[in-house]
């Protein structure tokens, strides 16, 4: 039975290796991409029999529950959408397909491990697998200085992040004698003279995870990395890597550090306000499409942090829904940016000029993504914000809800700068022919963005059980 619980991870690992092999030996250039996509589909299929099961294996190194399942499905879906998104881009930029897709599969494997463990060591291993893959992926454009800078910067900051996490972890281990979150919770709630050490360790870990989700003031790497990395990689990092970090935060803080909630809830509230406000303010003045989306990613992480500040199951459920909705908006938007960069590799906002006339349906889809980022119905982004605000108001944090909605209104300024360029100017940027992969991703993402709002009931029910898994244990 235990092997079946870890089957999705086994499939991802095997698939990743197969992609490497195909990259070395295969003659057809499409093989690695096809294999990677097949791997993600296989992983999704392997997740299906696990629904409804709650179990722990190998002393909590691996857990299966609706929370883990939700995130693993989200990560596999991210990978599955990034592959067709990347196809034309990888061809055009001369990226080695075998390595590229293999690293994406391994990164997704790392994310899955982070979401499905209750042991800090395992979570850390997953994080490292994800990170090391991401460092390489960020530098895949070998003759682009910005990509190399992104890779190096991500690596250096990542190393420091790992150090912070490990240092915090060692302090926590010192008082609990275990790396399992339940054991940590018992040790922390016993609350003898060592509580101060636990709080210190927790804050180090908070800073470490803060770097991963690019929360202000731990964000300074994010604009450069998301801007410099190859566009499909930026999408993977923003949609997948951040969600993985949030899944780990939820596991560790709600269970392990649950008794210390009074010490971290306010911190997350401050981080949320700083992150969304800074991200939105900085995004307003950008001229590069990717850099603007990078700051937008910071702002959006700020919205998700609201769920942690609220600290109720509703808040956590809202975070999960938001991350799922966010996945589709990000992947859809970056698919368009990657496609536009085929004709104009600088990836400026002005590349969107005249898209409303040249390719109307893609422009319409981009409008859907943008209003979803802002949080205007009928889009999933709206419902996600609605849930977050609802959670904040129900926890008597109306002030946080107001800060959040004022931020959304400000964000309309820059999201609409794309809409303005697509429809309101007379100039037209040249565009390449639309690759089938891009059409597929944009179409699916736009449809999902609308349908997740109009028919959310199945997802809501799933989240209802997932949010109980991480219910705060004080």
């Amino acid at each position: 039975m235990q092997w079946q619980m870890i089957l999705p991870e086994i499939l991802l690992a095997a698939g990743g290796l197969a992609v490497v092999a195909a990259g070395v030996m295969g003659r057809r250039r499409e093989t690695p991409a096809a294999l990677a996509a097949a791997t993600f589909v296989a992983a999704l299929v392997a997740l299906w029999p696990l629904r409804g099961i709650t179990a722990e294996a190998w002393w909590g190194m691996l857990v299966v529950d609706s929370f883990a399942l939700f995130f693993k499905a989200l990560f596999a879906l991210t990978g599955l959408l990034v592959v067709p998104l990347a196809h034309a881009y990888v061809e055009r930029r001369g990226i080695h397909a075998g390595e590229f897709y293999a690293l994406i599969v391994f990164a997704v494997l790392g994310m899955s491990m982070m979401a499905s463990s209750r042991d800090l060591l395992m979570i850390y291993l997953g994080l490292e697998l994800l990170s090391i893959g991401s460092y390489v992926l960020a530098g895949m454009l070998k003759d682009d200085d910005r990509s190399l800078e992104a890779s190096l910067k991500y690596f250096l900051v990542g190393a420091m992040t790992s150090a912070l996490l490990l240092f915090g972890l060692s302090l926590v281990y010192g008082i609990s004698g275990s790396t399992h979150v339940e054991a940590i919770r018992r040790a922390v709630s016993a609350g003898d003279g060592w509580r101060g050490v636990a709080v210190a360790g927790m804050w180090f870990m908070l800073a470490g995870f803060g770097f991963k989700v690019a929360a202000v003031p731990f964000h300074m790497w994010a604009p450069d990395v998301y801007h410099g990395a190859p566009t499909p990689v930026a999408a993977l990092l923003i949609a997948g890597s951040e969600a993985a970090a949030f899944s780990a935060i939820l596991r560790v803080f709600t269970t392990g550090f649950g008794p210390l909630a009074n010490y971290w809830q306010a911190v997350f509230a401050v981080l949320a306000v700083a992150t969304m406000t800074y991200g939105n303010a900085a995004a307003l003045v950008q001229t590069s499409a990717k850099r603007m989306m990078a700051y937008s990613a910071i702002a959006q992480a700020g919205y998700v942090l609201v769920g942690l500040a609220v600290g109720t199951p509703e808040g956590f459920g809202a975070m999960l829904y938001y991350l799922l909705a966010y996945l589709f908006m990000v992947v859809g938007t970056f698919a368009v940016i990657a496609w536009l960069s085929l004709a104009r590799p600088e990836e400026m906002l002005d590349d969107f000029e005249g898209l409303g006339r040249s390719v109307p349906w893609v422009a319409a889809a981009v409008v859907i993504f943008m209003i979803s980022f802002i949080g205007i119905p009928p889009t999933a982004g709206f419902l996600g914000k609605f849930y977050l605000i609802r959670a904040a108001v129900s926890a008597d944090m109306v002030w946080l809800a107001v800060v959040m909605v004022v931020n959304s209104a400000i964000s309309a300024g820059y999201y609409y700068s794309i809409v303005r360029r697509m429809y309101l100017t007379d100039r037209s940027a040249t565009v390449a022919a639309l690759p089938p992969g891009t059409s597929l991703v944009v179409g699916l993402a736009a449809a999902a963005t609308v349908l997740l709002m109009l028919f959310p009931q199945p997802i809501i029910e799933w989240l209802g059980s997932a949010q109980q898994v991480v219910a705060l244990l004080r």
Binding site: I376, P377, R390, A409, G413, Y416, R420, Y423, L424
Partner: protein
């Protein structure tokens, strides 16, 4: 019935998206056809409408997201049904008035229909979540309508409109959620919350303020009005007609539908503030309108002024003043589109200017069009016998008892309104076209003796076309009808107003 009503335009908009963009006439006709369906449905509903009943009619209710207590819940009563009718009518006329648009006809017509779905939805939604969705859906098409087909400063006006109203509505959303949790009923059902929630006054004050912000931006209430002149002036005629005719009423409708029935204690506490703000709107709007040289800007500020009467009617909280406020909403919903149609299209297309000092003697240059404009201006300034007067009369009479001093100031506003309309008409309608032309001709053709001869023919402008007459006719008929027989509307308003006031604690 109501679902069909609100989603027919959406279907129309999708159909238009599939039609070829080259065939402009086809696109226009299809759009008109789809916008006529709601008009027909409203007419059928009007025939079946039970004016004796005080509750919701034509109710549709399906669970939507039961986990959170969200339903798909529609219905109309005496407060919303007349607005629904105005929306259906004015949208059709705005589409007809926009037949002269030549660029990107396909997108324009699709957006107008999408906008109509949003507007109709706002007036029939009885679930807060659904209400908010329709409320926001209105924003996006209007942004494009202003931004693509607007005047020279369209980009600025469009984003200003968008961000202002978005800010207002997201704060309103927080208010809605606060209401949801304070009520403790676990439902977004507007009627259930209004009837069953027992909110303490402090909670009511806060929620009232949050909702007030959203509605105030939309109405707009001074000092939240600064987006309006830009948006109205830059919008193409069809957009201005809908902005002034329908969108502003969404704000006051929010007070009637949500704030007053649900938060009666707060409404009473804030009544005096609402009244003062209403009078400020009336006087300020009228004074600024008087100073305008741009015709459209004048009409835009006159809208601010007229919306002040609705606020005054709400503030007084008597059956007559509340009905008067609704009457002003309907009446202004008919008159202001006509004013914008003339200022932005009929006059502008012939004189190629909107500047009042550059126009004169339109009575001689285009007699029929000028007469119709005079009709609209008289209706707008409140000439007895037309609907504008009836609404203001009911409002002021109803408000006289509780708010005597405010009514006295508001009457001064009516005088100002009459003054700037008359000044406008003297400037652009009167004057001696022959002498003016002779003067021009003399200046141009210096020394040619025959200049005076035939000058009258030279200054004749093409008069009202058939299409323009068809746009004006339904508005004029309704304005006269409601002016001479206001009971047609009052009969529909009264049961709902009575129910509202008795729920608020019998005033």
């Amino acid at each position: 019935m109501l679902s069909l009503l609100i989603f027919t335009p959406l279907i129309g908009s999708l159909v238009i998206a599939l039609l070829p963009r080259e065939n402009k006439d086809l696109l226009r006709r299809v759009a008109l056809l789809f916008s006529l369906v709601p008009v027909a449905l409203v007419a059928i509903m009007w025939a079946r409408y039970d004016t004796a009943a005080e509750g919701m009619q034509f109710v549709e209710r399906i669970p939507w997201i039961p986990a959170v207590g969200i339903q798909y819940f529609l219905g109309v009563d005496g407060i919303s049904f007349p607005m629904l009718a105005v929306t259906a009518l004015v949208t059709t006329l705005a589409i007809l008035a926009s037949f002269n648009i030549q660029e990107r006809v396909k997108e324009f017509m699709a957006l107008m229909l999408l906008l109509e779905t949003g507007m109709l939805g706002v007036f029939v939604a009885l679930d807060y979540f659904l209400f908010y969705i329709f409320w926001e859906v209105v924003l996006v098409p209007m942004y494009f309508i202003i931004g693509i087909w607007g005047g020279p400063r369209r980009e600025y006006a469009a984003i200003k409109f968008f961000i202002y109203t978005l800010l207002g509505s997201v704060v309103m959303l927080v208010g809605i959620l606060a209401l949801y949790f304070q009520s403790g009923l676990g439902t977004f059902d507007m009627l259930a919350i209004a009837e069953q929630a027992r909110l303490n006054p402090t909670a009511q004050y806060w929620i009232f303020l949050l909702l007030f912000f959203g509605f105030a931006v939309k109405v707009p209430i001074f000092p939240f009005h600064t987006w309006l002149p830009d948006a109205h002036v830059e919008a193409p005629t069809g957009g201005s007609m809908l902005l002034a005719g329908v969108l502003l009423k969404m704000g006051t409708y929010g007070f009637y539908r949500i704030s007053y029935p649900t938060l009666p204690d707060a409404a009473k506490a804030f009544a005096i503030v609402m009244g003062v703000l209403g009078v400020i709107n009336i006087i300020y709007g009228a004074l600024v309108a008087m100073a305008q040289k741009d015709f459209k800007k004048m009409v835009a500020y006159s809208s601010i002024s007229h919306m002040g009467f609705v606020l005054l009617g709400l503030a007084a909280m008597t059956p007559m003043s509340m009905a008067g406020g609704l009457f002003v909403m309907i009446s202004h919903g008919l008159i202001s589109p006509m004013m914008f149609f003339f200022a932005g299209t009929v006059i502008y297309e012939r004189t190629h200017t909107r500047m009042l000092p550059e126009m004169s003697a339109l009575f001689t240059k285009m007699p029929v069009a000028a007469t119709l404009l005079a009709f609209a201006a008289f209706a707008n300034l409140g000439l007895p016998g037309l609907s504008g007067f009836a609404g203001e009369f009911f409002t002021l009479t109803g408000a006289f008892e509780p708010l005597t001093s405010l009514v006295a100031v508001a009457v001064l506003g009516m005088v100002l309104t009459a003054a700037y309309h008359l000044m406008m008409m003297r400037q652009i309608l009167m004057g001696d076209a022959t002498a003016e032309a002779a003067g021009h001709a003399a200046a141009h053709a210096h020394g040619h003796g025959a200049a005076g001869h035939g000058a009258l023919a030279a200054v004749r402008l093409p008069d009202l076309t058939l299409r323009e007459a068809i746009v004006s006719a339904p508005l004029m008929v309704s304005i006269v009808l409601f002016g001479v027989a206001p009971s047609i509307l009052l009969r529909i308003f009264n049961p709902s107003i009575q129910a509202l006031l008795s729920r608020m604690g019998g005033l």
